[in-house]
Amino acid sequence: MALKLMKGCEAIAEAAIQAGCRYFFGYPITPQNDIPEYMSLRLPQVGGCFLQAESEIAAINMVYGASGAGARVMTSSSSPGISLKQEGISTIAAAELPCVIVNMMRGGPGLGNIQASQGDYFQAVKGGGHGDYHPIVIAPSSIQETVNMMGKAFDLADDYRIPVIILADGLIGQMMEPVEMPNNPDPVKKDKPWAATGYVPGGKKQRAVINSLYIETEDLDVLHTRLSATYDRIQANEIMVETYNTEGAEFILCAYGTVARVCKAAVRLCAEQGVKVGLVRPITLWPFPTEAVHNAVAQDSVKGVLTVEVSNGQMNEDIRLAVNGCKPVEFMGKAGSAIPAAEDIAERIMNMRRA
């Protein structure tokens, strides 16, 4: 397959279509506008349906309806719009519905700005809506990886009947990179006996009830038992992480998304100065790769850990939990700031080394 220069947002939309997504409900918000724009042209070409909703709240509820009807469905937005969708996402999680939600993170809080940011980690990973639930959260660091992850995201959503969040940032959305796009004109349709597709009394298919209300405590308890079992299975089988140059490293960098690419450059800069630095890059932010982080950091050679984020330190908390005090963990990053330069990261490592 030939490489094609594509803009992140458009590549994501095309990859979703190749993954069998035929329904998209969205709303304009920078920096993810090219996703609904692209979908509005392409989905009708593949017999799908694009609809611009009156708000992000309506959009996520249209996703609830379409997913409950058995379709592969997606929505996308950016930070403030994702905040509006939180009740809907919690409801989708409770109704055990599959869907994919793309968040092109931008500067926050409030209207913030439209630059790349990683300020929505807590919202995505810890569950931004009410109640105990987990969306699967995937954080790609390149356009190609995002494209590769779309098929996986829809499969995970269907297999575990769970919302899957693609946590990208404005950079991935607005950059252009050469990508190899999968070609999958008629993707396999998963059997969804629970979906609302019509009900014949006495027939073999059960009546569909797409619902998140469990008014009796015992019933809500049954739901949580089922959800916990699902989450355990996901944590056991679906963790994705990249460990880069960590064997015998003196320091370990932890970063995700586009920041992790800058960290790789910092690793090379440190190597030029004879200091071996490794990088642990969580790809699934939930389920979080706790063990991989711990194993890399626990090596005798490792003196310390530096987490780098474009935020005031959110994933850093999960890194500290994973490290569990066996090595010192420091943080580098500032909310609303630009993506850090490799040189600055390398310099910080050198300072840690001297300390």
Binding site: L51, A58, A66, G70
Partner: protein, 244 residues
């Protein structure tokens, strides 16, 4: 002897949880009968959001969704876009449709979404214990307008049927009431027309139904029906507001 009135099989045999004299049970029966009479039960899905009718999935023996407060028209849009050949209805109260869900219902009509909305206007929030709704009448006492709704403080009640009838995407909009047999018959006829407008693909359809809430109005069921006739019908004129 022939049976001339019997419970439709489109209703499950789960007894309604509604209060004695509540209008919901009456309208549930009518909607279920219309679904049976139009022969569409196998391809019909209903969406009931938060409100007294949130348990409608226990009562209608068709595919059912329970939706977040105010969002049923959006959920129904999602369903209908996936199954355009099927029939979809939302069943919403006034707190749901005329307050938190105003944007969703207006835009469903604006898009000419081919869904049918059954809108129960009982001028109050029932499930949560009798608070003022956008449809609460001026002077009407509720738990959040204890001295009676004051229009200078929080405006006058909203007439949804008229509002939605101005939107081009609306194909059939009517308002009926439940207070006597004649109006009961008109209500069922309107519900049937609304579903027929959907099936014919004409666009969005809605029936606003003035319905009693004895418990939260603090009236016996019969008195509630009389109060409805004397106070609600004058403010909410009955009839077909739009028919394409």
């Amino acid at each position: 002897m022939a049976t001339i009135f019997k419970r439709t099989s489109v209703l499950t045999d789960v007894p309604f949880h509604y209060c004695p004299g509540c209008g919901h049970g009456i309208v549930h029966r009518m909607v279920a009968e219309v679904i049976e009479e139009l022969g569409i039960r196998e391809k019909t899905a209903g969406v009931a959001p938060v409100g007294c009718a949130v348990f409608a999935y226990n009562y209608f023996d068709v595919d059912m969704y329970e939706a977040a407060h105010g969002r049923a028209p959006a959920v129904a849009t999602g369903y209908k876009r996936v199954h355009p050949e099927n029939v979809c209805f939302t069943y919403q109260g006034d707190g749901d449709l005329a307050s938190i869900g105003t944007a969703e219902i207006v835009h469903a009509a604006h898009r000419g979404e081919k869904i049918t909305t059954i809108f129960i206007n009982n001028a109050i929030y029932g499930m949560t214990g009798g608070q003022m709704a956008p449809t609460t009448l001026v002077g009407q006492k509720t738990t959040t307008s204890p001295l009676g709704r004051d229009k200078d403080h929080c405006g006058e009640p909203i007439r949804m049927a008229e509002m939605l009838a101005t939107i081009n995407g609306s194909a059939f909009i009517a308002r009926t009431a439940l207070n006597n047999t004649a109006n009961l018959n008109k209500t069922k006829a309107a519900i049937k027309k609304a579903f027929e407008a959907q099936i014919a693909g004409k666009g969005f359809s809605m029936v606003e139904i003035l319905s009693p809430c004895p418990t939260n109005w603090g009236k016996a069921p019969g008195e509630a029906m009389d109060w409805l006739a004397e106070n609600m019908i004058p403010y909410y004129p009955l009839g077909i507001m739009k028919e394409v």
